[in-house]
Structure formats: structure tokens, C-alpha cells
């Protein structure tokens, strides 16, 4: 069965086969962001905010749909008692330990989702417009401001959208999407970018399927 020798452990992101792509200069870029540690924190902020601050070194977002960034760490609001904590890979263990200790007396859940989610970067002056082909979120600059996070549907994929920052109309957005939907979303985003010259991304498709029912012919 095995035709190739497998080497030491190698990690692959869901989109590892996909190169970063972009449209005409100054329009839109798509890329999968490299590995990072991600955790879902479930916690009643009223009960555990101080402990969290102490352990993680940053505040919980003060308002819904907001994020807090401190250096390379960030906390994104996902729900009233649900947050996405992002940190550099190397800090994952230390962060988890610190939180486990710090929140030991608080009812909480700190679950690693580094592999569950991948992050797709959508960047450029046309980023908002491209995304609006896939989501019903109001992404007008008046409505969706830097630092904001929103969970929504993007085409058929649920994902969290985070506007990291925006300079002179060029937005830098991240989409956190679950592994199994990453290919779909990537191709849908590329399709949305075609207007600005983003190359078409052939979705993985055409898997062989049986075209007859087999229940009647088992033997």
C-alpha cells in the first residue's frame, strides 16, 4: 500500500496546496496564514475577566463584536461567553498552563482549536467588496470597523471574520474557518475575486462516486 517513505512528523494546513493569490495590483490578495495557536475560551466575563487578564496578559473585549490585541496575542469576541484566543505557536503550552492555573477556580473551558480553524487572509482595497459576495454582513466601512469580529455565513461556510486593521481603504481581514470547509471557502473567495483578476481556483471536485445503488448487489 505504502509507496513512499514517510519522514518525520510534518504538519500541513488545510490549504497547503494553495499558493497565495491576488488580483490586479491594489485590489485583493488571498493567503492562508501560517500556523498559530488558537483556543476557544468559554467563560462568563463577569466571573473570570480579571483572572484571564492576569493569566493571558490581555483584556477580554469590552464590547460584543470587538477584539483586543496585545503584541502577537489577540482575543476575539465570538459570543457573550465565548472568545477566540490567538497566540504564536510557541506560546501555546505556556498560555494553556497559565490559564489553567489562573482560572482553576472559575468555571470555564479552554479548548485548543489550533487545528480546527485555519485563518485565511483577505486583504486589499477590494476585500470588503469581495466578501460581500459571500456574506450578508454589512461590511461597509461605516458598519464594520477595524477591530471588529463577526460570525456569519460565507457562502455555505460558517466562519468568523475579523478586520485586523485598515489603512487608506486597504482592509486586512482574517477569516477563521474550520478545516473541512477551508477548501470550499478558498475557492469561493477566489471566485468572488475574479472581477479583479484573481485567478480561478478549481475546487476539489469530481471525486468518483458510484452512480448506481449497491444495496441490492452485495455479493
Amino acid at each position: 500500500m505504502a509507496e513512499e517513505r514517510v519522514g518525520p512528523p510534518e504538519r500541513r494546513l488545510p490549504l497547503f496546496r494553495r499558493q497565495a493569490i491576488e488580483g490586479a495590483p491594489g485590489t485583493i490578495k488571498l493567503a492562508e496564514l501560517p500556523f498559530a495557536a488558537k483556543f476557544v475560551l468559554r467563560l462568563d466575563p463577569a466571573a473570570g475577566e480579571a483572572a484571564f487578564r492576569q493569566a493571558a496578559g490581555l483584556d477580554l473585549p469590552a464590547a460584543p463584536l470587538m477584539s483586543v490585541v496585545n503584541g502577537e496575542r489577540a482575543v476575539l469576541w465570538l459570543g457573550p461567553d465565548e472568545f477566540l484566543v490567538v497566540a504564536p505557536e510557541a506560546e501555546a503550552g505556556e498560555l494553556a498552563e497559565a490559564l489553567a492555573a489562573g482560572l482553576a477556580d472559575t468555571h470555564h473551558q479552554f479548548t485548543e482549536v489550533s487545528n480546527y480553524y485555519t485563518a485565511i487572509l483577505v486583504e486589499g482595497p477590494k476585500a470588503r467588496q469581495a466578501l460581500m459576495k459571500l456574506t450578508t454582513l454589512d461590511l461597509h466601512p461605516r458598519a464594520f470597523k477595524p477591530g471588529m469580529v463577526a460570525g456569519s455565513n460565507f457562502g455555505h461556510a460558517q466562519a468568523y471574520l475579523w478586520l485586523e486593521h485598515e489603512e487608506e481603504g486597504a482592509a486586512r481581514l482574517r477569516l477563521y474557518v474550520r478545516w473541512s470547509m477551508a477548501e470550499y471557502l478558498w475557492c469561493a473567495l477566489a471566485e468572488a475575486g475574479r472581477e479583479w483578476g484573481v485567478p480561478e481556483q478549481e475546487p476539489v471536485a469530481g471525486e468518483p462516486m458510484l452512480t448506481e445503488s449497491v444495496t441490492s448487489r452485495k455479493a
Binding site: 473541512s180 472581477e195 441490492s216
Partner: protein, 1023 residues
């Protein structure tokens, strides 16, 4: 090059300097950029371009826009780009456009279908209800095929549409629909406030009816109309927050100010000029805080004998063709009107050089200034007269005028007047389609004899002609006001918006006199006065509908099909309503209207689907190992959104392996050596909190209080109706921390349900749930060689089943990578599930296969997995259950705890649910071991079925040929199954004779181990 005999010099917004060619019905014609197909055909003197639906009567063009009911053609040169039922009046002309007549055979000019017309008297409304009622089968066999072949309009294209479509979402503060004077002012006013404005216009240009006016006679603040429109458009374009969308029709006004816009992005371009990076059409899904409807007014035709000939056109359309497209639709036009609009059209035509044959007006009194102007232009006037007939086949050539008596009947005398165009006007009616779609209430306005917006139901306002305001200065002012108010309502102040001073205000339609059907000297049954010109509904048909009791407007519509064509009766419906009112001697307001439904005009199906088709139609959820599966012969099966390998067909064997052989091989290898399954798709939920155990005890049927960390337990989850909904194994990670698994297809449903109970039913429980399905890639390794393989795969790991017991789990590492290993099994075989962080999944899988090579490992798919678990008698929720099966029906009483509540518990004791003779899951063995039952086969008491209905005892839920038992096996739900173990019953086999079977326990492996499997293995065949 042919001339365009009806093109007039210097008029129109067409690009005269360029001549483009198009073909209609195989003949080539010239036209200009800026033309529509209709205007270009008219410029060439071509009026007849279609045949009507029922009688196949010649049809021309009635209106100059999307409201035209009759001028339908098929566009497109290629069969895959064929667009039937395209309105010539809407289709912009481009170089090389190919149009063809439809609904006629052999040709437009000679159409055999037209014989229908000769038999029209025998085919009144609803004639088919009264006949063709032969014995059963005659309709399907004889009459229907004939009717179906005769009906329909264009021919559908061939599959394989090469074009792209897309949908986009937008939010805005103000949406302005309609680019006429009212809409322009509204957009301007709203735009100046800084509000986010979307401004759409159905046609290629802004300007609306301003472009249908003689530019000489009209000034906005001293500027000619086209210039004013252009200046306004420029100002709008410069506003950052304003989006102007020409060629964009607002087709649907839905709840909560959601409006669908349909943009034709490249339909106006020749094939080779279409921009590949842009879609053919675009759907704008607009969420507007406020909406301004400035959709203008539509002109009605008049209902009189022979009013359906090509060359009979609405007066406004005549003006549009003249001023917007530079086409004089006729050189000797006659006018027939019940209001002043016809007069204005006549004057325009006369000034442009036409010789007006006559103005026929049914009214007695006319505006003196019009009479004076007519006299000045030398136009013959026939006041208080009507038309009683027309002539001309492919184009009108004569009208017959008769005086109208005071009592509304036709007088003697009169004359026949030659003409080559008849402009008709029945007065203008506000275009209230979108308003009514928004569920606003209409108000009857007797002055204009039409409905206009009354009571708004959503955040919307109408302005201009759409609101029944017809005088241009008022229209502009109302538009501006609507824009200001809409912006204000959305929170934006615009300040004052100066309304341009209009020079050349038209007098308007004046007093309008409505006669539902114009009188005639002909006996009623000889009159052919058309109301719906597409579906061939005549006044006579509507009269018959009333006579037969189909007099409610909705009944009349359905009985006669009036307003049910592709135009949805935009310009003809009001005539139908007026006619019904007259017939029923009631006020029109009591008749009401039929329902204005979406879409305003027909919208391409692919545009509604947008980009979400083909490979983007439904996501394919993939595990990290997906690519490997594809490379190794996997045949896939959809499980929810996931694609899972179903079996791996080996290519190396001769001719390749077929599916059945692959499944047998996989299942055999998994039990005799080693097999590995990609189990990553199983749902996984991290459950944590001090009340986690309590919570599990409520959502599963069994108890969880004693499960120790390091151990796992199987659970069944029910709905509140007591029926099995999902199952899975949950591992205790720590006293307050669990790792729950669900079925692949049930994952999302289970999580939602658990959240539901936690958030709404038991908020007091301190438990958090987080989905971790894709965090882990999972290899489920089974078979006698699996312990040895595990020992090799994992670092310092003792997989010995004696010490690493069934239903335990451990942390371990694989080449240093932390993994969780579960000793759980769905096959009854020694089995391990390695869970590794998904980013290592691909590597893990390849490593397992590489290191498993020497143990003879095989990857196996879901089909072998199903087979293996059936050998052990394990259920699959959704296959062996169907939402009507309780744990007791599965004979899994052991899993239902006696004490304490859980979801679904109370349902189990309902009188029917607790019945002892319900269908229960049992094993089924055919007496012939080689015979594999069909899943879905039914179980009967008797060998020979009596006549239906045959009593059924149950059905087969799972059935396989088991390579490991050397015979076929099946699971079935059978009435009182538990009590029937050992009984001989019969299974159906399609239409073939039933086969004898034996009822057994479900765990076939154990039966075999105990020597209770009745049949010998068949080594010979499957060695």
C-alpha cells in the same frame, strides 16, 4: 447596405455614426448602438415579430420596455445560449445579435398554428374543462400531448450554459428604484445627505420618461433633458456613497426591506466583447433602511375589436421610439385615445414629420389648446368616436372609425382611414407592482381611474408617476422630497434640494374617460377585442368567466389566464379589472386586483442561483487525508456535507477491482490482519464543567456518574419523542471534562440540541460545550495485528489489550506528537482510535499505512465499516433506525437507566411506544447462505403473498455478504422480533418469489463463536 426607412434624422440617443448588424429570422438588418432590438426592427419597418400564445395571431410591439406583453423572440446563436421569450423591447442591440421568431411553424409569416384562430369560437376561456374527459388514460394518452405541443412559447436552450452569474449583498440607507425624473431627484437628495444610496434603473440609461419627450420642447433649469440627466448622473457618480446601477431591475420587494435587484452586466455586449472577469448577470441582494419607489407609470391600451394587430402601439411607446431611439414607428400614424396623452403623441409625430391620419378620441370635450394645435398641424380630429375595426395582417393598414352616441353605443356612418401605425392610449396608471409586493395597500384614484399607493406597510415611499403624480414639476419636487425624507428617516440630513425649473411642462393626460370595452356595431360574439394580448384573452372570455360565475378577480384570472403571461399583465391587467367591474356593475375598488408577486419581470434562474452552482453548489467537507484517499482508488460517498471514502478499489489487480470485491477484501483483511479507517469526520464535542456528568446523564439514556477518568462509555441519545436520534462514545478526560463523539451526519444537530438544553432548559447547569470535530484527525485501526502496529506507531506505548482495556483511553505520543488513543471499537475487533492534531493527520495516515505494510494493513471505507459492524450486530443510527425506533425496539434495554429523567424518557412509556409487539431489531439469516437480501426487503409471515394489501412484519435495514462468516447476514426490524428468535419467516425480493429466512440474534460473530451459525462457510468462492 439596407436603409433604415423609419429612422428619423437627428433624433434619439443612439450612436448614429456606427452601424451594427443583427439578424432576425435569418435576415440581416442594420441598427445602431443604443437601439433595442425592437427599435431597430421598427427602424427597418418591421412590426410583426411574434405569434400569440393560443390563436397564433400576428403580434408586434405594444410597449417600449419590459411591460411589453407581445414582442417576444428567441435570442442567441448557439443552442446553449438560446434565450427564449426575450422581449425585443428590452433587448439592447449588439453587433451580431441573432434573434428568431418563436411559437410558429413553419415560419413567422405562415404559421400552421394559426388555424386555431379559425376555431377560436369553439375555444373560449376554459373550453378544455368542458371536454376531453374520456375514460381514464385518454387525457394522458391522447389529448394532453396535443395540447402540450401546441402550448408553450419558446424552446428551452440546450444544457451547458457557458455564462457565469453572481450574487452580491449590499446594505444601504436609501434604495431608489427607477431612474426617471422622480428617481433622479430622490437619489440626488438622498445622496447629498451622505447616506449610502443605491440607485437602480431597469434600462440602459437614466432619464426615464424624460428621454421620451421631445428634447426641443423641454428644459430643466434651461438645460435639455439628456444634458440634465447626464449632469445629474455625473453629480451622483461623484458621490462616494452613491452606487448607480443602470440595466438593473428591482424585481422583488420582500419582507423587512429586502429588495432583490437584477443587473444585466453583459447581455448588451456582443459575445466577443463580454468581459470574462465579469458575470453575465448579477443579483444584488439589497437590505435598505428606506426605499424610494420611483418606478413611473404605465400606459394602458384600449379594448376594441381587432386591437391586436402589429403596428398598434401605446402612445407613450411611440414617443419613446421617436425621441429615445430616433425611430418613427409609422409614417402615417393614427391615434386612438381616451385622454390627452394620445394628442401629445400625435403632435410629437407630426412635428417630426409624420402625416397624422387621424386623432380618434372617445371623449366629447377636449382641451381647447389641443384642438388649436391639431388644427394648426392640420390633423383630422374624430371626437366622441371610436374604432370598430382594423385591418392589416403583418402591420396595421387601416382603421374604421365610427361615432359614439351619448348613450355609449356606436352610431351610423363613419369612415375607414388608412394608416401604418396606430398609437393608442387608455391613460396612465402608476406602476405599483413593487409597492404592492411590499404589501402596501392600494388606493383607488377615480381621477386617473387607476390604483396608486395608499398605505405603506414597510419603510418605503413612492414618488412621481409611481405615486400618481404626473405633472413634471410636481414629479421632480416629490422625488426630491422623497429623497430628503428617506435619508432623514435613515438618520441623514440633506438640507434643501433645489428642484430644477421646468420649461415646457406638458399638460398631462387631462380628463380620462374609461370604457372597459369600447362599443361596436358588431354582435358580441363576433368581436375580437383583446385584453391580454399575450395569452389571447378577449373581452368575450372575461364576460364568459363572469357569466359562468368565475367573477371574482382571482377566479377570472385563473379561468381565462389573463395576466398570467410573461408580462404578468403589467399594462393589460387594469383593463381586465375595469372590465370585470363593468360586467359585475360594481366599483373597480370592489373588484380589487390580482396579487402582484415577485418577480417584477422574469429573472434568469441562474442569476438567482448566483455563483453557488457547479463546484460551488455544496461544499465538500474533507478530512486531512482526503487527497490520499483520492490517490488510492477511493470511491466516495456523501455523508451530510462530507465526502467519505466508501471503498478503495485497487488498480493493481487485473482489470482493477470492482466495488464489491474491494469491500469484501477490506472487510476480510480488517478482521484477519489489520485495517484502518479515516474516522476524522465523527463529530467531537468537548464537554466541560462541574455539572458535566449530570448533563451527560440527562442527554443520554444511561448513567454517567461513575465513569472514571481514562475510561469511555457508549451512549444513545433520544429525542423527546423517545426515538433514537444519535449515538457515540464519550471519554472521561477528567472528573469535569469529557470528549463526546457523535455520528458524522448528526454532529451539528447534536451540538445545537445540547446547546439548546443548556441555554434554555437547564441554565443552572455549569457546563460548556465546544466543537472540536476538526481539531483531530482520526485513524481507527483494527484487526488482530493492530496491537503490534500500535506498538510500532506510538512512542513507548503498551497496546496490549489485556492492560490497555477495551473502553479505556490514554494520552500517548507518536514520534513525539501528542495523541489520544481510544480503545473503542465499532467492528467488534481489537481496535484503537488514534486522534492526532489535524495538521498532522496526513502524516499520521501515511505513517500508519507505511508501518502497517508488513502487517498487511488495508485502508477500508465506510462500506466495509458498515459490513464489519453488522457482523457484530452494532447499529447505525439512520440506517437501522429511522426516527421511529426506541432503544427498546433495538433491544438495547440495558442502556436505558431506570432511575432519573433523561431526554425522551417519558415518551417511552406511552401506550403505543411501550407496546410489546413493536418492531424490534433482530438478525436475519437467509436459508440460502449465498443469497443477500436487499436492504428494504420486507419480512412476511407467509411464503406466498396474498393479494395486496399484504400484512408486513418488518423490513431489512442492513444486509451484506460477510466474508468473515462466509455467508450473507442481515439486520431487520421485525414485529415482536425479540420473541421470534429462531422463527422461520419470508423476505421479499423485488417482484420475485419470497425467500425463507431465519430470525436470529444480531451479533453474528458471537453466534459463530458459539457455533450457532447454521450455515457452513463457503471457502471455495472467497478463498
Amino acid at each position: 447596405m439596407a436603409k433604415q426607412p423609419y429612422r428619423v434624422a437627428k433624433r434619439g440617443l443612439i450612436q448614429r455614426s456606427r452601424v451594427i448588424r443583427f439578424t432576425f429570422d435569418g435576415r440581416s438588418y442594420p441598427g445602431h448602438p443604443g437601439d433595442t432590438l425592437a427599435s431597430a426592427l421598427l427602424a427597418n419597418g418591421h412590426h410583426m415579430l411574434a405569434r400569440s400564445f393560443k390563436y397564433h395571431r400576428p403580434r408586434g410591439i405594444l410597449a417600449a420596455g419590459s411591460e411589453d406583453p407581445v414582442g417576444l423572440v428567441t435570442i442567441g446563436a448557439e443552442a446553449t445560449r438560446r434565450d427564449p421569450n426575450t422581449r425585443a423591447a428590452e433587448q439592447e442591440l449588439y453587433e451580431g445579435l441573432v434573434a428568431n421568431a418563436q411559437n410558429c411553424w413553419p415560419s413567422l409569416a405562415t404559421d400552421f398554428g394559426a388555424v386555431n384562430d379559425a376555431f377560436a369560437r369553439f375555444m373560449p376561456a376554459g373550453f378544455y374543462y368542458k371536454t376531453f374527459k374520456g375514460p381514464p388514460g385518454t387525457w394522458t394518452g391522447i389529448f394532453e400531448p396535443i395540447i402540450r405541443a401546441a402550448a408553450g412559447m419558446g424552446r428551452a436552450p440546450e444544457p451547458g450554459d457557458p455564462d457565469r452569474y453572481e450574487a452580491v449583498n449590499r446594505h444601504c440607507d436609501v434604495l431608489v428604484v427607477g431612474g426617471g425624473p422622480a428617481g433622479l431627484m430622490a437619489a440626488l437628495a438622498a445622496g447629498r445627505s451622505g447616506a449610502r444610496v443605491i440607485f437602480c434603473e431597469e434600462t440602459a440609461r437614466l432619464g426615464g420618461s424624460a428621454l421620451a419627450r421631445d428634447p426641443e420642447g423641454l428644459r430643466f433649469d434651461g438645460t435639455p433633458p439628456a444634458q440634465w440627466v447626464a449632469d445629474t448622473e455625473k453629480e451622483l457618480a461623484a458621490m462616494e456613497e452613491v452606487t448607480v446601477l443602470p440595466r438593473t431591475c428591482a424585481f422583488g420587494y420582500y419582507a423587512n426591506n429586502f429588495v432583490g435587484l437584477w443587473e444585466k452586466v453583459s447581455d448588451h455586449l456582443p459575445e466577443e466583447k463580454r468581459l470574462r472577469h465579469l458575470p453575465r448577470q448579477r443579483l444584488w441582494r439589497v437590505r435598505a433602511r428606506q426605499v424610494v419607489l420611483a418606478t413611473g407609470a404605465l400606459e394602458r391600451p384600449l379594448v376594441f375589436h381587432e386591437n391586436d394587430r402589429p403596428g398598434i402601439m401605446l402612445s407613450g411607446a411611440v414617443r419613446t421610439f421617436l425621441h429615445r431611439y430616433g425611430v418613427m414607428a409609422g409614417k402615417r400614424p393614427a391615434v386612438f385615445t381616451n385622454n390627452d396623452s394620445g394628442w401629445v403623441a400625435a403632435f410629437d409625430l407630426a412635428r417630426a414629420g409624420a402625416e397624422i391620419a387621424a386623432i380618434v378620441d372617445i371623449r366629447r370635450e377636449m382641451a381647447p389648446e389641443h384642438l388649436a394645435e391639431a388644427a394648426r398641424l392640420g390633423i383630422p380630429i374624430h371626437a366622441s368616436s371610436t374604432l370598430v375595426g382594423t385591418e392589416g395582417r403583418r402591420r396595421i393598414r387601416q382603421i374604421e372609425v365610427r361615432p359614439l352616441r351619448e348613450d355609449g353605443t356606436v352610431g351610423e356612418g363613419g369612415s375607414k382611414i388608412a394608416c401604418d401605425l396606430l398609437a393608442v392610449s387608455g391613460g396612465w396608471a402608476p406602476n405599483v407592482a413593487l409597492f404592492s409586493q411590499s404589501r402596501g395597500k392600494l388606493r383607488w384614484d377615480a381621477d386617473i381611474a387607476a390604483f396608486k399607493p395608499g398605505l405603506s406597510w414597510q419603510r418605503e415611499r413612492s414618488a412621481g408617476a409611481a405615486n400618481g403624480t404626473f405633472a413634471l414639476p410636481d414629479v421632480l419636487a416629490e422625488g426630491a422630497r422623497a429623497g430628503v425624507e428617506a435619508a432623514a428617516a435613515a438618520g441623514f440630513a440633506s438640507g434643501d434640494v433645489a428642484v430644477p425649473e421646468v420649461e415646457g411642462v406638458e399638460p398631462g393626460q387631462g380628463r380620462i374617460e374609461v370604457m372597459a370595452e369600447l362599443p361596436s356595431h358588431l354582435p358580441a360574439h363576433r368581436r375580437r377585442a383583446f385584453i391580454d394580448l399575450q395569452d389571447d384573452v378577449t373581452a368575450k372570455d372575461l364576460r364568459l368567466a363572469v357569466q359562468e360565475g368565475y367573477s371574482a378577480v382571482e377566479h377570472a384570472k385563473r379561468y381565462t389566464t389573463t395576466g398570467m403571461g410573461t408580462d404578468q399583465g403589467k399594462v393589460v391587467n387594469l383593463n381586465a379589472f375595469a372590465f370585470l367591474a363593468a360586467e359585475r356593475c360594481e366599483e373597480p375598488v370592489r373588484i380589487g386586483t390580482t396579487t402582484f408577486r415577485q418577480p417584477y419581470k422574469p429573472v434568469t434562474i441562474a442569476a438567482l442561483a448566483g455563483q453557488h452552482i457547479g463546484p460551488h453548489f455544496a461544499p465538500r467537507r474533507m478530512t486531512p487525508m482526503h487527497a490520499w484517499h483520492r490517490r488510492h482508488g477511493a470511491v466516495f460517498e456523501p455523508v451530510g456535507d462530507w465526502l467519505r471514502p466508501r471503498a478503495y478499489l485497487r488498480a493493481d489487480e487485473q482489470d482493477g477491482e470492482d466495488f464489491y470485491a474491494a469491500v469484501q477484501r477490506e472487510a476480510r483483511t480488517a478482521r484477519t490482519a489489520c485495517g484502518v479507517l479515516d474516522a476524522s469526520t465523527l463529530g467531537k464535542i468537548d464537554v466541560k464543567g462541574p455539572d458535566a456528568r449530570e448533563f451527560l446523564g440527562r442527554v443520554y439514556t444511561n448513567a454517567w456518574s461513575k465513569l472514571a477518568p481514562g475510561m469511555c462509555r457508549y451512549g444513545l441519545m433520544l429525542g423527546e419523542d423517545g426515538m433514537v436520534m444519535d449515538d457515540g462514545v464519550t471519554a472521561c478526560l477528567a472528573d469535569d471534562h469529557f470528549h463526546m463523539t457523535t455520528t458524522t451526519g448528526g454532529a451539528a444537530r447534536v451540538l445545537a440540541k445540547l446547546e439548546d438544553y443548556l441555554q434554555t432548559e437547564w441554565p443552572e447547569l455549569k457546563v460548556f460545550l465546544t466543537s472540536v470535530t476538526e481539531e483531530w484527525a482520526v485513524a481507527s485501526i483494527c484487526g488482530p495485528k493492530s496491537p503490534a502496529l500500535l506498538a510500532e506507531l506510538l512512542d513507548d506505548f503498551d497496546p496490549d489489550p489485556e492492560r490497555f482495556k477495551f473502553m479505556a483511553w490514554r494520552n500517548a505520543t507518536m514520534s513525539g506528537i501528542p495523541v489520544r488513543v481510544f480503545r473503542i471499537s465499532f467492528t467488534g475487533e481489537i481496535s484503537y482510535e488514534i486522534n492526532i492534531p489535524a495538521t498532522y493527520g496526513r502524516w499520521m495516515w501515511r505513517t500508519v499505512l507505511e508501518k502497517g505494510g508488513k502487517y498487511g494493513i488495508t485502508p477500508y471505507g465506510t462500506e466495509a465499516m458498515h459490513l464489519l459492524r453488522a457482523e457484530k450486530g452494532f447499529i447505525i443510527v439512520g440506517q437501522d433506525t429511522d426516527g421511529t425506533v426506541t432503544p427498546h425496539d433495538l433491544r438495547m434495554d440495558w442502556i436505558v437507566k431506570k432511575n432519573g429523567d433523561f431526554i425522551g424518557k417519558r415518551s417511552l412509556s406511552r401506550s403505543d411506544t411501550a407496546r410489546p409487539d413493536r418492531r424490534q431489531l433482530v438478525g436475519i439469516l437467509t436459508e440460502d447462505p449465498e443469497l443477500v437480501l436487499e436492504e428494504g426487503a420486507h419480512i412476511l409471515q407467509r411464503r406466498n403473498e396474498p393479494e395486496p394489501p399484504v400484512p408486513m412484519l418488518g423490513h431489512v435495514t442492513s444486509s451484506y455478504y460477510s466474508p468473515n462468516l462466509g455467508r450473507s447476514i442481515a439486520l431487520a426490524l421485525v414485529e415482536s422480533g425479540g420473541r421470534r428468535i429462531g422463527e422461520r419467516l419470508f423476505a421479499t425480493k423485488g417482484g420475485l418469489p419470497t425467500v425463507p429466512v431465519r430470525v436470529t440474534e444480531t451479533d453474528f460473530l458471537t453466534l459463530k463463536a458459539k457455533g450457532q451459525l447454521p450455515q457452513p462457510p463457503r471457502e471455495a468462492l472467497h478463498g
